[in-house]
Structure formats: structure tokens, C-alpha cells
């Protein structure tokens, strides 16, 4: 079976369109983060998340009614399974948590508290700080590595594409108003580390092909040839990684679904950017201010 042959595809011909797509993606992401914001989970925002299990199917409206008696009707109430419900409130005291449980027991006959995530403001702040440090350190570490590994210009375009990938993942999480939790942050970090790989493959090939540059061969042609030659590996490595993550999304349970989604988005956008954006940016840079070789 062979999906992709090393045919000659004119990737550089559509680079203007690719720029537009990428700019739109980034604008949407930034806009969403700026306007809708990130829906921080209890990890980062602090607060209380309680998951209850009932012996019968329960509607979220019934729960809301119960919470209303404690002036908590504005809480976020989500169905986890037909008989399980997750509620998210500002940080509750032990007594209030206990009271909710007994109110629910009263109303539904039986109710069991099966998960608690209770994070105080100080811990939330700690986790936020730790998250930012991890993010910056990851970017820093990758930058240092790429700087050693690459020439200057390919390094810059790869890192630009990387920022684009990470931003898009965060943007999608914001657009869908998925909770921004520690696992989502982990997904973003992983995508940063993983998605630069394809860019490295493509840029390495370009360097290789530049050495054996044929007379009269345009820069665009070399890049097109390089991207085409590495296309099957770019796609296959992403695909093999995406397959188990898809399994995670569909079969891995609700708790890992958002994480899997973030990774999938990152894989798709990372593959796209390493095919259409990284080398295109480099070509335009080289054409505008050519370096002597």
C-alpha cells in the first residue's frame, strides 16, 4: 500500500495562500484568547470540583435546583455519565461540601462523592507559576537546541512555525472553551517538542539538496523537491502518532478526551506548518536578502 509517492508538488506556489491560512489561524487564536479568554480549570484558577454518582439517571437541572438552595446555582454542572455529574464551584469549605452531599442524598435517595479536586488560591497561583516556568523553559530549551543544530534562518522559521502551532492549540482550546488544565498544558508542551521534528526533517533536506543544486534550479524548485521527497515521512510520522491518540480520544475515557483533542489539533497544525509554512518563510527570506553561498 502506498499513499504518497515522491511526486513533484508545487508547495511553494501556494505559499501566499498558506500564509493567509496561518495568519487567520493565529488571529482567531489570539482573538479568542483575548476576547473569550481561557477557561482555566481548578488547577490554575483554584476552586472546587466535585463528581457525584447516583443510583439513577439524573438531569443537570435537578442538580441545579439543589445547588440553588445554597446559592450555588451558577456553578458549572456537567454530565460525566448518565448517572454521574460533575459540578464546579468557587472554593468550598469542607462543611459546604458535606452539605451538598447530604442535600443530594436527600433529594435522590443515594449519592456518592467519587472525585474531589479542591484547589486553594495559593496552590492555584503556584501551579500557574510552575506552568509558565515550564512553558518558557521548554521554549528556551528547544530554542537553544535548534540554535546549535541549525543555521540561523531555518532555526528562526522553524521556531516561528512552532509558536504558530502552540498558539493554535491554545486557540482551539479557548474557542471550544475546553477547560485549560495541567494536562492541556502538558499537551501544548509535548506539541512544541514534537512538532519541530518535521520542520527539522524538511530543512535538513533542503540543506542537502542545496549542496547538489542543479544549474538554473530555482530556490522554489529545490524547496518543492525537498518537501516532496520528505512528504511521506512527514505525514507518516504524524499519522502513526495520531492513531493511538485517536484511540485515546474515542476509547480513553472522558478524563483524557480534551488532552487527546489538544494533541490531535497540534499534530494536524504542526504537520501543515512544516509542509507549507516553515520552508516557505525561509524561501521568502532568502529571496528578499540572499546570502552568498
Amino acid at each position: 500500500m502506498e499513499f504518497i509517492r515522491a511526486t513533484h508538488i508545487n508547495f511553494m506556489g501556494v505559499r501566499k495562500a498558506a500564509y493567509v491560512v496561518s495568519l487567520v489561524l493565529m488571529a482567531l487564536s489570539l482573538g479568542s484568547v483575548a476576547l473569550r479568554g481561557l477557561n482555566y480549570g481548578v488547577d490554575f484558577a483554584g476552586g472546587t470540583l466535585l463528581q457525584f454518582r447516583f443510583s439513577r439517571e439524573v438531569a443537570t437541572e435537578e442538580i441545579r435546583g439543589v445547588l440553588g438552595s445554597m446559592n450555588l446555582e451558577k456553578s458549572i454542572i456537567q454530565r460525566f455519565s448518565p448517572t454521574e455529574v460533575v459540578i464546579r464551584t468557587p472554593k468550598l469549605s469542607q462543611e459546604d461540601q458535606k452539605r451538598i452531599l447530604s442535600l443530594l442524598k436527600e433529594k435522590f435517595g443515594s449519592a456518592e462523592l467519587v472525585r474531589v479536586e479542591d484547589v486553594g488560591p495559593a496552590v492555584g497561583a503556584d501551579l500557574r507559576r510552575m506552568g509558565i516556568v515550564a512553558l518558557l523553559a521548554a521554549i528556551g530549551g528547544i530554542l537553544v537546541y535548534v540554535a546549535f543544530r541549525f543555521e540561523f534562518r531555518p532555526a528562526v522559521t522553524s521556531v516561528l512555525a512552532l509558536a504558530h502551532d502552540g498558539l493554535t492549540v491554545i486557540g482551539v482550546v479557548s474557542l471550544l472553551q475546553k477547560e485549560f488544565t495541567i494536562p492541556i498544558l502538558a499537551a501544548v508542551l509535548t506539541i512544541l517538542g514534537y512538532s519541530i521534528n518535521d520542520s527539522i526533517v524538511v530543512m535538513d533536506r533542503i540543506r542537502e539538496n542545496l549542496v547538489g543544486r542543479k544549474k538554473g534550479e530555482e530556490l522554489e524548485d529545490i524547496v518543492n523537491r525537498s518537501v516532496s521527497e520528505t512528504l511521506s515521512r512527514t505525514i507518516n510520522t504524524s499519522l502513526t502518532t495520531a492513531l493511538p491518540v485517536l484511540a485515546l480520544y474515542f476509547f480513553g475515557g472522558k478524563m483524557l478526551q480534551d488532552f487527546a483533542l489538544a494533541i490531535l489539533v497540534g499534530l494536524v497544525v504542526g504537520t501543515y506548518s512544516s509542509i507549507f509554512v516553515v520552508s516557505a518563510l525561509w524561501v521568502d527570506w532568502e529571496k528578499r536578502s540572499p546570502r552568498r553561498r
Partner: protein
């Protein structure tokens, strides 16, 4: 050279497989599960200053000790009680089914006071020797307490002075019982009857036995998972992992034919070695850790993809089959190294900076990347060399 060493290389692979099988099987009970998978509570406490009791070094040390006493009485297997930083205490209670009760028992100051009519404290729980649940004549649970000699003396004085008057019993400033003294109690023993449920009485007895905390303690983080919910997570994660592995195995065979089959063999070695090392390191598997493992299954065959694609190219450019294989492995190696190092940077950061379950993600991702470099390059090479003459790949 490489060819002549092949039997030895094969022997190493087989040896590692045998060793790993010994470590990994039978799987049941070999892998340590995190609290999010086996159920349990992760509770972070912080000692806070109050005007009456400012926090100092000694107080924090005593808090740790008293909390340990309380937990011992809860009967939790393998609890973790550790001081974190200056004022924080981390408590991990695997397998706890009632997290609210655990939090209640751990976080309560449990200062017992006896106050006379004028509200003056005549005696505190500091003089307690023992506290136990008993039942009164009506079968209601009560907490029977006995004082040490000093306490017995004070209690005798207080009861003598207050015959016919109420003597309030307060827990953390809250009145729990207000009995009227019938006659002086000289034996240093008493009962607290506070209309308790059995559980409340048991909790109180535990708290009184372990002693009051010297300073106020707040629960600043509580992550608890009920064991059956944890089991659901394990099952879902396992299902996803199995399906994910099957998908990757199938893809590699469909796309790369017999070479894909060898990559699949290497992938199975990866999974085996991964868990052998994981168990060997006594690492803890968490739910995000499962996600990290599933992710590395997909990444593990990336090395094979890069190598096989390179072999195809080399072969197309007119090299012999063997030369193509040599060149493919050699030239792809640099790329594989690059690819793994950048991902490893991100993984190690999660490992070192993360807390709790997410640390498990960093652990499995880092271990997966390192392990897959070995199986994807070195082990696959052994398999490819072994079958090189009989293999064909459509190019």
C-alpha cells in the same frame, strides 16, 4: 563486522526480552498505580498563623507527628505524610473510600476544652490519656475519656467546684455537650455524650487520642478519587492503549509490508522493555501517565518510518539492497536523534516541574522516548539484518 556480530546482537535482544518477561509477568500487582487510578486522597495542608498560636518550626513538626498518629488510627495502608517547604504538609492516602472523612480527621485542630459557667477554661485535652467509643444504657455512642494524673486532679477540682452547675465541653470553640455536674468526679474518667452518630463518635475518639494540633491547619489542596472511578480510568486507558497499539501495528504492516512487520516486532519489544524498566524503577503509573505511554507508542515507530523512507530513497537512487539498508539506518539516525531530543526537552520539564499526576506523564513520555530510540534503531536493525535477504519493500 556488523554481519559477523549478528548472532551476538540477536542474543542480546533475546536476553533482554527474556529478562523483561521475567520482570513484567505476571502483570497483576507489578505496576504501582497512582492515587488517581487506584483511588485515594492527595491532601496538602498549610499551617496558618493565628493570634493565639503563631506558626513556628516546632509547631509544624508536631503537626506532622500528630497527623501521622491520626492517620495510623484510620488504618490506611501505605500512607505518605511528608513536610513540604516551611509550612506545608503533604498527605497521601491510597485506597481511601471516604475522602471527606479523611479530610475532616486530618484538618481538624481538635482542641478539647472544659469551661465553667463563667466561660473560663478549667481543663483542656492536653491532659487526656485515652479516649474510646462506648455506648450508654440506651445504646447511644459516647466517647469515654480518661485523664492523666494532672488532668484527673484538675478535673476533680473543677467538678467539685461546679456541682449542680453545667460544665461545657467545647471542641475547637464549639459546644458539643453541656452536662450538669451531679457530683464531684475524682477518678479522672468521664463521658462525652453529644448526640453523636457512631462515625462522629469514632472520629472524635481518634482526634482526642492523637491530640490537638498546636496551630491552625488549612486544607489548601485536596484531590481525591474513589477507587471504582479509578478502576474505570484504568480500564478506559487500557482499552485505548490496546486499540492504539493495534492501529499502529496494522498501519506499519499495511504501509511497509514485511519491513513493517519487523517494525511491529520492534514495537512489541518497546512495550515490553518500557514496562520492564517502568517496574524496575518502581515508577508510579497515573492517568496522564497512561496518556504519555499511548503517545509514545505512536512516536516509537517514527524512527522506523524515517529509516524505511530513507532506505527506499537510497534504493531508488540505484544502490544495492544491502547498501541501501546501511545508508538508511545511518542517515536517518541524526534526524531521529534530533526529533527525540526536542520532545525529550519538553518531557523532562514536565517531569521536573510538574506536580502530582502530571509528573506521571513526564515520566512515561521521557522513558518512552529513550526506550523507543533503542528499540526503533538498534533492535529494529537486528531484525532487519536478520531477514535482510528475504525482505522486499515496494519502492
Amino acid at each position: 563486522m556488523r554481519r559477523r556480530l549478528l548472532p551476538w546482537r540477536l542474543l542480546v535482544v533475546l536476553g533482554l526480552i527474556a529478562l523483561s518477561v521475567l520482570v513484567v509477568f505476571p502483570v497483576r500487582g507489578r505496576i504501582r498505580l497512582g492515587l488517581d487510578l487506584r483511588g485515594g486522597s492527595h491532601i496538602l495542608l498549610e499551617c496558618v498563623d493565628t493570634p493565639e498560636a503563631p506558626v513556628d518550626e516546632d509547631a509544624v513538626r508536631r503537626v506532622v507527628e500528630i497527623i501521622r498518629n491520626r492517620i495510623d488510627q484510620l488504618g490506611v495502608a501505605e500512607p505518605v505524610i511528608a513536610r513540604q517547604g516551611e509550612r506545608r504538609v503533604l498527605v497521601q492516602l491510597p485506597g481511601v473510600t471516604d475522602p471527606q472523612r479523611a479530610v475532616e480527621i486530618i484538618g481538624k485542630t481538635a482542641l478539647l476544652e472544659f469551661k465553667d459557667e463563667r466561660g473560663e477554661t478549667v481543663l483542656t485535652g492536653a491532659h487526656l490519656k485515652n479516649a474510646q467509643v462506648q455506648f450508654d444504657r440506651l445504646g447511644r455512642p459516647v466517647v469515654a475519656i480518661s485523664f492523666d494524673s494532672e488532668g484527673a486532679k484538675l478535673f476533680a477540682q473543677a467538678t467539685t467546684a461546679n456541682v449542680g452547675k453545667p460544665l461545657g465541653i467545647y471542641l475547637d470553640g464549639k459546644l458539643i455537650s453541656n452536662p450538669v455536674v451531679q457530683e464531684p468526679i475524682l477518678g479522672g474518667e468521664a463521658q462525652i455524650t453529644g448526640r453523636f452518630t457512631l462515625e462522629e463518635a469514632q472520629n472524635l475518639a481518634i482526634l482526642l487520642r492523637a491530640g490537638a494540633l498546636p496551630v491552625k491547619v488549612e486544607v489548601i489542596e485536596n484531590r481525591s478519587v474513589e477507587p471504582t472511578l479509578g478502576r474505570d480510568s484504568v480500564n478506559a486507558g487500557l482499552r485505548a492503549a490496546v486499540i492504539g497499539v493495534i492501529l499502529v501495528l496494522a498501519f506499519m504492516v499495511l504501509y511497509y509490508g514485511s519491513f513493517g512487520l519487523l517494525a511491529d516486532l520492534a514495537l512489541l519489544c518497546f512495550i515490553l522493555f518500557f514496562f520492564a524498566i517502568f517496574i524496575g524503577l518502581r515508577a508510579t503509573l497515573t492517568l496522564p501517565g497512561i496518556a504519555g505511554f499511548v503517545l509514545t507508542v505512536g512516536m516509537a515507530v517514527d524512527a522506523n518510518v524515517l529509516i524505511f523512507e530513507r532506505i527506499k530513497e537510497e534504493y531508488r537512487s540505484g544502490k544495492t539492497w544491502r547498501a541501501s539498508i546501511d545508508a538508511g539506518f545511518q542517515k536517518a539516525f541524526r534526524t531521529i536523534l534530533d526529533a527525540n531530543i526536542t520532545t525529550l526537552i519538553a518531557a523532562v520539564l514536565l517531569f521536573s516541574l510538574g506536580s502530582g499526576p502530571i509528573k506521571g506523564f513526564g515520566v512515561t513520555l521521557s522513558l518512552g522516548i529513550l526506550c523507543s530510540m533503542f528499540t526503533g534503531v538498534w533492535v529494529s536493525r537486528v531484525f532487519v539484518d536478520l531477514f535482510a535477504d528475504r525482505l522486499k519493500m515496494r519502492v
